[in-house]
């Protein structure tokens, strides 16, 4: 399989106050991780363990203090801010904990947004948006604004927005944290289905034990250190992977 993400000895420190040279706190320490294309990977750990920091670094919305990250073979540490922006636009889809939909846009317009900034023509945009909304089961809600959608529906719109431009990688930061169990399970099933059906690579962070059952691979973080990186044999694909490894 192709390697889609490679994290090499990445450390991220944040200053505790305005003096950026002193009182640094480490959010991530010497992390190493490889993710293959088509994987469905969970980054698990308690609050403050560095899950979001790792996702932000992989998603090119933050820069490591040391080490390097390759996304689809591109060394992100060597990219200018504008090239990073282009990389995010072209290769990465984001799903956020709080949905982060544009409130004045309808569901369809929110899904269309990544295509707009890519400069895609209107005809193709319409087709892609329709496909994406259909794939998350929200075709009937296309014209509704986020405030008229339930939490689960909003997050499904966010997933449709993350996949509409056919990214190489979808990053989801605690996507089920604001959902009830029913909606959370539905969302994970949806993402897993998209992962299997479209071959999309999903990396998501969670500290929700319910969700980990559905994942193939779990990377556990604690205090900025990767404690374990294991296949989840309870997971559907994990079972296949585990049996092939044994």
């Amino acid at each position: 399989m192709d390697e889609i993400v490679k994290v090499e000895s990445v450390t991220r420190r944040f200053p505790l106050n305005h003096d950026k040279t002193r009182n640094l706190v480490s959010a991530l320490n010497d992390a190493n991780l490889r993710v293959e294309a088509g994987e469905f990977l969970a980054i698990a750990g308690p609050s403050g363990s560095g899950k979001t920091t790792l996702l932000n670094l992989i998603g090119c919305i933050d820069q490591p203090t040391s080490g390097r990250i390759l996304v689809d073979g591109v060394d992100t540490s060597k990219l200018s801010p504008a090239r990073m922006s282009t990389l995010r636009r072209e290769k990465i889809g984001f799903v956020f904990q709080t949905f982060n939909l544009i409130p004045v846009f309808t569901a369809a317009e929110n899904v269309e947004y990544p295509l707009l900034i890519k400069g895609m023509g209107s005809h193709e945009r319409r087709e892609r948006v329709a496909d994406a909304l259909e794939s998350v089961g929200l075709s009937a809600r296309a014209g509704h604004r986020p405030d008229l959608l339930s939490g689960g529906e909003r997050q499904r719109v966010a997933v449709a927005r993350a996949i509409v431009h056919h990214p190489a990688l979808v990053l989801a930061d605690e996507p089920t944290a604001n959902l009830d169990t029913h909606n959370a399970t539905q969302l994970i099933d949806l993402m897993h289905g998209l992962n299997r059906r479209l071959g999309l690579t999903f990396i998501f962070s969670t500290h929700d034990a319910r969700l980990l059952e559905h994942t193939d691979r779990i990377v556990r973080l604690c205090d900025g250190h990767i404690q374990s990186d294991s296949l989840n044999e309870g997971g559907i694909r994990g079972q296949v992977l585990a049996s092939s490894l044994s």
């Binding site: 979001t52 932000n56 998603g59 919305i61 933050d62 801010p81 504008a82 922006s85 282009t86 990389l87 995010r88 636009r89 072209e90 990465i92 984001f94 956020f96 709080t98 982060n100 544009i102 409130p103 004045v104 846009f105 317009e109 269309e112 947004y113 990544p114 707009l116 900034i117 890519k118 927005r161």
Partner: protein, 409 residues
Amino acid sequence: MGKFLLLAFRNVFRNRRRTLMTLFMVGGGVAGLLLAGGYFAFMTRGLRESTINNGLGHLQIFTADHFRRDEVRVLDTGIENWQKVAATVTSAQHVRGVAPRIDFYGMVSNGTKAAGFMGSAVDPVAEKSLGFISRVVSGRELDTKPGGEVEALVGIGLAKSMNVKVGDGLTILAMTSDGALNGVDVQVVGIVNSGIAELDARYVRITLTAAQRLLQSDRVTNLVVGLDSTDNTDLAFNELTPRLQGLPQQMELKKWIDLATYYKQVSNMFNGIFLFMGIIVFFMVLMSSVNTLLMSMMERTREIGTMLAMGTPRLWVVALFMVEATLLGVMGAAAGVAAGNLFGTLLNSAGLHMPPPPGYTEAILFKVLHVPSIMIVSSMLVIFSLAFASIVPAIRASRLQIAEALAHV
């Protein structure tokens, strides 16, 4: 592009109360400028027309020598064979008529006292046909029929210092074109008040025929041209300029605006006041809008972070904020233009009057003109002000650290 504008448009109405307040403020500024500018325009237009109708005319023809040198002898820089020049001009489009004038100086005496005067000789028929009116406060205008005694109008100040009233006689003395001293007895038929005390203290007006007899010359100082409308001044000027080229004397054509010093001073004063008001409105809109737009930016920090995370170019974010502010400006300007015109119409229909200015006895009608150029300038002013106000919030929004913005609560 369409979706981008749609996003900007919907963002404008995201916080309706705040948008309404901003529109109210921007619209109020525009409406205020429209009302003030419309009133100034009415005053300026009134002054322009009264300046022209009080005898300045729309165009004046002089010999070129008139501006090149002082007269050595009376009327030696004047127009000879002025009737031919007048005929050349009269046939032009928009010309209603031509009135010859002579400016002359001399002494006036009531038999016991003498004083210097500034004389103006006119053709009463031509003046009347062009609607040029003297501000006669007692007596009447000069008679249009020739013959009889030489009639004169005198300024109210001169009449007072010479102790004359309508019906009294005066003697006026002036140098002839040959350098001799000549005099003529005149009968005061009217007393005029131009509103300018310095002029009224020395002003004498007689007929052109009487002045030519007094000065022993058939020349005139200038020809005053009246047009059908002040708006046609430039057209007539352009048509008359070549016509005056082939005449024996080199002529120079002047527009009324070049001769109306007082009008220009008043007009400049109104323009200065309007500019000052415009600057106040500009900064008023600027200061309050910066605050509003910064608040809007702060409220949307996470949303902007999301847009940037998805790969939105930072320039787009700058453009989005600037377009939103510009849209707000356009809507505020439209509301202001509508409100300003509505209030203007209501005020006009109320028939209000302003107290008379110094030197005048009659109250002045309060009227607001609907001037398209003022609407455009006022609208552009607030639109530019809002666009300018959005620069700081727009740049701050575009420079947000994405990770921090996404964590913003």
